[in-house]
């Protein structure tokens, strides 16, 4: 009986042209969304590539210049800071690009990527932790947000689900078919569930086809990123399942189509618009972000204090770092001016570090708290996990910032001892300069817990549906 049911349902659906409309609608929306995501990712990659090409070009120039001067083909400039062999020159003028390359699925979700820069060039002078990582952007654009695949999945997909399923039971009831159906030996619960299951399979296929087609169109290989794409579908399809089950429960109440539509939209407003914004606002109030501007003040006070003592400290610096002390004291070190900077900056760093650490710790704690609130709504779960997949979550940017700070130390670490030893750069050494490779290994992945959270919501609704069925549907569905 159920097989018949599904078969005829399929025939009706196909004849109604609903499927074609849905496919076309969803495909065009998806294509537009992926196009927007792709534009951002291309801009991002292009700017990184441009910077890296500049570095390659500059390195070649430096190598050639050093070579000419070393082989005496060119006379060295009189001023040390113009000498291509000068370590301080290379450390300042030829910084490496520390870039956060886009992961393959970055175009899925803009996430926080519109707020932050994707590369930095830490130099010998200046502290990486003071680098601003803000991207230049029109804040109106940040406020309105991006029309990306994440938006389509989180906001629009549920509405398609609801439009596709709000009147399954009520339409049959209103046209009188329902009585005929139930003259057959079939339970309302199974009958409705099988109808919905069919629609779920159809819409899932539409979603998968559209997304895969859009990804392929914009040059993302599904085969190469198979596991990421599978994760994407696991999340999106379970989110859809949640919404189908919401429609299922509302249908089970046996109210009119109009009533169902209004109820379902209200549920959507609450789940997708209200709960996330209430939680977001609450988190600001309950777990306020520690004050940045207060931190600046403490930072400035500590910095000024350290600065006062900084002039006298090169001597004590050598006491702390005997390995750097000059071996040949008769010759003047050409980097003397920057060496005293190293000494004073270490002093300043040591005095401001506790303030920054304290701030970062407080911020991390606040974000962990807020992160846990995501289990209150499937919409937040999906957003969080899509950002994870796209490598555009706040955590990814915080991690990148740390990678820049670490690399800045590596960069300085390469030059510092050589400057103290009063060395100069050789042409072949240009190839040995430290390089940075971006990796996302240290960012915690929430996929498993997010999916589990989503399934938990699905199970709750499923349990609820059974209760509703026993209470309302079984007793009153055929009345009226």
């Amino acid at each position: 009986m159920l097989n018949h049911n599904i078969k005829y349902e399929w025939i009706t659906l196909v004849r109604e042209k609903w499927i074609v409309i849905l496919l076309l609608l969803f495909f065009s929306i998806t294509l537009f969304a992926v196009r927007n995501g792709n534009e951002k990712v291309e801009d991002r990659n292009l700017s990184i590539t441009k910077e890296q090409e500049k570095v390659v070009k500059l390195d070649a120039e430096f190598t050639a210049d050093i070579d000419s001067v070393t082989r005496k083909l060119k006379s060295p400039p009189k001023k040390t800071w113009l000498d291509p062999r000068s370590l301080s020159n290379i450390a300042w003028d030829a910084p490496r690009v520390v870039a956060m390359e886009a992961v393959p699925l970055a175009l899925v979700s803009t996430g926080q990527s519109d707020l932050f820069t994707h590369y930095a060039k830490p130099k010998i002078y200046g502290e990486a932790y003071t680098l601003g990582f803000s991207e230049l952007s029109n804040p109106v654009q940040l406020l309105f947000g991006s029309f990306d695949l994440a938006f389509v999945c989180i906001y629009l997909l549920p509405l398609l689900v609801l439009a596709f399923s709000y009147n399954i039971l009520s339409a049959d009831k209103e046209s009188g078919v329902l009585k005929l159906t139930f003259s057959q030996p079939v339970s309302v619960y199974q009958w409705l569930l099988s109808k919905l299951a069919l629609r779920y399979v159809i819409l899932s296929s539409i979603v998968m086809i559209s997304v895969v087609a859009a990804l392929l169109f914009y040059g993302v290989s599904v085969a190469d990123n198979f596991s990421a794409v599978v994760k994407l579908f696991a999340l999106v399809l379970s989110y859809m399942l949640f919404w189908f089950l919401v429609a299922f429960v509302v249908n089970l109440f046996g109210k009119s189509s109009g009533n169902n539509a209004v109820t379902l939209v209200s549920v959507w407003v609450v789940m997708v618009l209200l709960i996330p914004s209430v939680i977001s606002q609450l988190s600001n109030t309950l777990y306020p972000v520690p004050s940045r501007i207060n931190m600046i003040h403490q930072y400035r006070v500590a910095e000024a204090e350290a600065d006062k003592n900084a002039n006298e400290i090169l001597k004590t610096y050598y006491r702390d770092h005997p390995e750097l002390a000059p071996k040949d004291t008769t010759k003047e070190n050409q980097y003397a001016w920057i060496l005293s900077y190293f000494a004073s900056s270490e002093l300043v760093n040591n005095s401001v570090k506790p303030i920054l650490d304290k701030y970062d710790k407080a911020l991390a704690k606040q974000q962990t708290w807020v992160d846990n609130l995501r289990f209150l709504s499937p919409a937040i779960l999906l957003q969080n996990s899509l950002n994870d997949l796209a490598g555009t979550s706040t955590a990814h940017y915080a991690d990148f910032r740390n990678q820049v700070i670490v690399f800045a130390d590596v960069w300085k670490g390469y030059f510092k001892p050589r400057m103290f030893a009063n060395e100069v750069m050789k042409a072949e050494e240009m190839k040995e300069l430290p390089k940075h490779t971006y990796n996302t290994e240290s960012v915690k992945n929430h996929f498993a817990s997010d999916l589990a959270g989503m399934i938990f919501f699905v199970l709750i609704i499923l349990a609820g549906s059974w209760t509703v069925y026993r209470r309302y549907t079984a007793t009153g569905i055929l009345n009226a």
């Binding site: 910077e51 996430g111 803000s134 029109n138 509405l159 618009l273 914004s277 600001n284 940045r292 706040t394």
Partner: protein, 471 residues
């Protein structure tokens, strides 16, 4: 007759349990949002005042220094919050709150709140504007989607018509029936907001006039949505279809259109990246403002000219410290470079705004959103205005420091020190925001678009109801 119809509609709506629950929820949300925003802003405001005091005491108490070192040490300008931003936080979350003012360099505003928040904040906050601009139009749809379709479905249109009521009177009655419940929610909130805002201490000057204009904008916005709702309801015979269509209109105008226009604006007029922007400035600093007059050549020319002007043959003989003079001229030069590049950036922003204005023809949400932010002084323009004022202050501050070096010290005397006498002589940064008249003037086109929506939707409503046929 109009009143009778309106009263009947109202009675029906109020008796409908669905409306009562929804209206209660919306009102509760608004009140909650108002309270939460109030406490949030009070804390932000307290932080701001403290930071401002700290920045001043750092500046004044920096001890004995060479004035140019003092200019390097610099100070901070903090962006104030305005009373109405309690209702509409606008882009404040996405624009920095403090600008570091130092010699030689114009800095971007730092520390946007959104950067320290998780992506959750991108869903938007439950602030009053969220309810006012997203949720209340939905409420209007919920109240009015079946205004006319109901008459068809119950076959009551014939009865009504037999009373001899004209179509437009019927429509006017129905219109009031939808609009009055909205007023019943919005007006108390307006009064509550007025009481709230006039009672917050240390919160800048609050203007009741501005609050009234703000609510006026929302009232027009709601009138537009009421018109659209009734048009759709009059066009369809089935409530279901009317509801689904209206929902589609809401999604397109409130959710999709802002994002779509952002995508278009970004494609057509992209911002440079931060690093690109800085590199362009650095390039100009190296090559000179117009690309062929590097500063080191320019300064040599300046030296010759100055010597000639004072009739001396070495800079030591000048009646002022040449170093301070040169520093100040260099400062002017870099300030011009910054001005040029920020002007280019501003052009991009203006072009992007034009895109939003053009797409506003497809969404009443957009002009209402921009007007609301502008009146609340939390829009992007307000941010620009603040940043420009801070830059002006920076140039003055650095100018005073270089002036002290130039006039009070001798050439070559790098150990010259000034003290808190000079620091206190520099006035604190006090920012005056643009007046409401200027704001409204700037947003004339948004206001015109919104009124255009009102006019067009009213005319369409009038045309549509006249065509309703009784079958």
């Amino acid at each position: 007759m109009i009143l009778k119809i309106a009263l009947k509609e109202l009675k029906e709506i109020v008796r409908d349990g669905r409306f009562r629950i929804t209206a209660f929820v919306v009102a509760a949300l608004l009140v909650a949002a108002l309270f939460v925003s109030k406490s949030y802003y009070q804390s932000v405001n307290a932080q701001h005042n403290e930071a401002k005091k700290n920045a001043r005491s750092e500046w004044v108490g920096q001890g004995e220094k060479n004035p140019h070192s003092a200019a390097h040490y610099g100070t901070y300008a903090f962006k104030p919050k305005y009373p109405l931003s309690l209702l509409d936080n606008g882009v404040d979350k996405f624009s920095g709150v403090s600008i570091y003012l130092e010699a030689h360099k114009r800095n971007e505003a730092q520390y946007m709140a959104a950067q320290d928040q998780t992506a959750l904040s991108r869903f938007g906050d439950l602030s009053p504007d969220f309810v006012l601009i997203f949720i209340i139009p939905l409420l209007i749809i919920l109240i009015g989607f079946n205004s006319f379709t109901r008459e068809h479905e119950n076959n009551t249109l014939r009865l009504l018509k037999s009373q001899g009521v004209s179509s437009w009177k019927l429509a006017a009655g129905k219109w009031l029936g939808v609009f009055i419940p909205v007023l019943l929610i919005v007006v108390p909130i307006y009064i509550l907001a007025a009481i709230f805002l006039s009672n917050i201490k240390d919160y800048g000057q609050f203007s009741l006039g501005a609050l009234t204009i703000l609510f006026g904008v929302y009232i027009i916005y709601y009138a537009v949505f009421t018109n659209i709702t009734l048009v759709v309801s009059a066009l369809y015979r089935k409530s279901n279809l009317a509801f689904v269509t209206l929902l589609g209109i809401w999604i397109v105008s409130c959710l999709a259109m802002p994002k779509v226009s952002t995508a278009i604006a970004d494609s057509l007029y992209p911002y440079p990246t931060q690093v690109e922007f800085e590199q362009q400035i650095a390039e100009d600093k190296k090559k000179g403002l117009d690309g062929h007059n590097p500063w080191n050549e320019e300064s040599k020319k300046l030296e010759q000219e100055t010597l000639k002007k004072y009739g001396v043959d070495s800079i030591q003989q000048l009646p002022f410290n040449w170093a301070g003079f040169l520093m100040q001229e260099g400062e002017k030069h870099t300030a011009d470079i910054y001005f040029k590049h920020y002007q280019l950036l501003k052009d991009t922003y203006v072009n992007q705004s034009k895109v939003y204005r053009a797409t506003a023809a497809f969404s009443p949400f957009l002009p209402a959103r921009f007007l609301s932010m502008a009146i609340s002084r939390s829009d992007y323009y307000s941010h620009w205005d603040f940043a420009d004022a801070a830059e002006k202050y920076r140039i003055e501050l650095v100018g005073k420091m270089n002036g002290a070096l130039m006039n009070n010290s001798k050439y070559g005397d790098w150990d010259y020190l000034e003290n808190d006498k000079l620091w206190t002589a520099v006035e604190d940064f006090n920012y005056e925001p643009p007046t409401y008249a200027a704001i409204l003037n700037l947003n004339g086109s948004n206001l015109a678009t919104l009124l255009g929506w009102l006019l067009a939707s009213s005319l369409i409503l009038y045309a549509v109801v006249n065509k309703i046929k009784v079958i």
